[in-house]
């Protein structure tokens, strides 16, 4: 009987091609806009989040402008910061621009950064060859450096830089390692940078204070308590003066973005659902017209022995077919829209099984809900009245 009902429903859909198409279109627009909006928002969120994560989701960055008397952090402050619970290490960043000389090649305005052993341990994948900065380099202010990818290529033309000596701001420095090519982030890349032990860098660049520190967390879930502890130390280091430092927690930013985009997804899906609702009303309208048009047919079928439930099933299947059809086409169109958006807006397109289930399930539900009333109406028609209706 189910197969027969499907056959009959299909034949009716085919018979009223234009009307069926327009009704399908209503559902299609609703479903495709839901799919496209959800996928685009999720894709864009993913790309923003991963960009922020690439800056270090396990990292808290301190910027310490300091007071007039104390312009930045000292060794003692660093030790205190590294002792905070769930902190696995701290790495100061000293940076400046200076000249660099190798074999009669002079390059000015080269970015020099000072880091410590923690940085090379945590960011283990940045090193291509040789070694990074170790604790002895830091303690002994060794005149060594690690050279960025592009800079190495430019100065050494393919010969091995490791072991060579260069002049940084007039000081002789031995190169001990080469960095990997960096794809860069919104904060720039290390490709044209030379990294030295921060103690040596401070000497070379003439920097007296540490104004930037990366704090590595062993447990990113504790970022809030860590942030509080760091703030306490910094407050006491700068005599509780205002605007002397900032503590930037990537996880906080990611969480906030996640909240905003989550709300945005709900809002957009809600708006798109309205169009699906309109599509559902379209189905109901079509089915009501169809029932009225086919009153005589319903009467005849009843006279020939169709039970009310069988009539109801036939009409219900018809509306479910229409909306499922719209749902599947809407899914395809939604994916196409989202794919185009992914290419244009440059994020990675992903579609979850959940989204597909949502689209198909939603449209089947719409077909059932909005088809039920017309189908019931059809099943309850009085056969005599129906047969008399011409």
């Amino acid at each position: 009987m189910l197969k027969e009902s499907m056959k009959m429903a299909w034949s009716n859909i085919i018979h009223n091609k234009m009307r069926s198409f327009l009704t399908v279109l209503g559902v299609l627009i609703g479903v495709s806009s839901i799919i496209a909006l959800i996928t685009i928002v999720q894709g864009a969120t993913g790309s923003i989040t991963s960009q922020i994560s690439s800056l270090g989701a396990d990292k808290i960055t301190i910027q310490a402008m300091g007071t007039r008397l104390k312009q930045g952090l000292n060794e003692n402050d660093l030790v205190q910061l590294s002792r905070v619970n769930n902190v696995s290490g701290v790495s100061p960043t000293v940076s400046g621009k200076t000249s660099l000389v190798y074999d009669r090649n002079v390059k000015t305005g080269v970015s020099v950064e000072g880091k410590n052993e923690v940085y090379f341990k945590k960011e283990s994948d940045i090193l291509a060859r040789g070694r990074g900065v170790n604790i002895l380099d830091v303690n002994n202010k060794n005149s060594i450096a690690v050279i960025g990818y592009d800079l190495a290529k430019e100065l050494f033309f393919g010969t091995e830089p490791v072991g060579q000596q260069i002049l940084i701001n007039g000081n002789t420095v031995t190169l001990v390692g080469v960095l990997n090519e960096s794809s860069g982030s919104i904060l720039g890349s290390t490709n044209n940078t030379v990294i030295m032990p921060y103690t040596s860098a401070m000497k070379t660049l003439g920097v007296r204070n540490i104004t930037s520190v990366d704090v590595y967390m062993s447990d990113a879930n504790e970022s809030e308590s860590i942030t509080n502890d760091l703030t306490t130390i910094l407050n006491s280091a700068f005599n509780y003066r205002e605007n002397t430092f900032s503590v930037l927690n990537m996880q906080n930013i990611i969480d906030v973005i996640g909240n905003i985009t989550g709300m945005l997804t709900l809002l957009l899906a809600g708006i798109a659902s309205i169009s699906l609702l309109v599509g559902g009303i379209g189905i109901m309208n079509m089915m009501l017209v169809s029932v009225t048009e086919r009153t005589t047919e319903i009467g005849l079928r009843k006279a020939l022995g169709a039970e009310p439930a069988q009539i109801q099933l036939q009409f219900l299947i018809e509306s479910i077919f229409i909306s499922l059809f719209g749902g599947i086409l809407g899914l395809i169109l939604g994916i196409i829209i989202a794919l185009s958006a992914a290419v244009i807006m440059d994020f990675t397109f992903t579609i979850t099984a959940w989204t597909i289930i949502l689209a198909v399930g939603f449209s089947a539900a719409v077909g059932t809900i909005f088809g039920l009333a017309p189908a019931r109406k059809a099943s309850r028609l009085n056969p005599i009245d129906a047969l008399r209706h011409v």
């Binding site: 009987m1 027969e4 034949s11 018979h15 005589t296 047919e297 005849l300 079928r301 009843k302 006279a303 020939l304 022995g305 169709a306 039970e307 009310p308 439930a309 069988q310 056969p383 005599i384 047969l387 011409v390």
Partner: protein, 227 residues
Amino acid sequence: MSEILNMLDIVKCYFLDAEELVVLNKINLKINEGEFVSILGPSGSGKSTLMNIIGCLDVPTSGKYILANNDVEDLDEKELARIRNREIGFVFQSFQLLQRLTALENVELPMIYAGVSPENRHKRAAEILGRVGLADKMNNYPNQLSGGQQQRVAIARSVVTEPTILLADEPTGALDQKTGQQIMQLFKELNDEGRTIIMITHDTNIARYSKRIVNILDGCLNEGAVS
């Protein structure tokens, strides 16, 4: 011969704005297997109302109606649908074929609701269409058939499930005289093969084809002459 239909004091009233209209007034009718009965009466006498009750499309206001050993009063919607499917084959004045289906598919319709398998449906429908002389028109749509041919399809549809009663309401009403006579000839043949037929008509000439005539006037039945 066994009795297949028994009506006892059937009354049908319509209530229009508190005014009672008695359309059938204490109808008593017994029909045995194999009969060919005409219910003859002028327009408005209550023929169609009676036919709707016989065909279980409508229920009487009062009285008892036994069809093939079922008291129709006791049946619900679903059981009434089954009774119509098994016991009654309808032939209407306006044929009532579905325009979107071929002759063969139209004949298959009642078998769908009887739960017959598709293969058996095709076979049986083709057989019966051959029997009414439409072997070469099986795949035609109703609008590709003449009135007489359409009524033959409708008759094929009415007997394809081997119902207890073939119930026809003015079956020749929409046909010219000659075609009408051919259709009546077909009814006669079907009756000769043992099928019970109840036919409703206002035309005495058409009623003559049956073996028994029951007159109806203003909702009252009168047994008439046997031809």
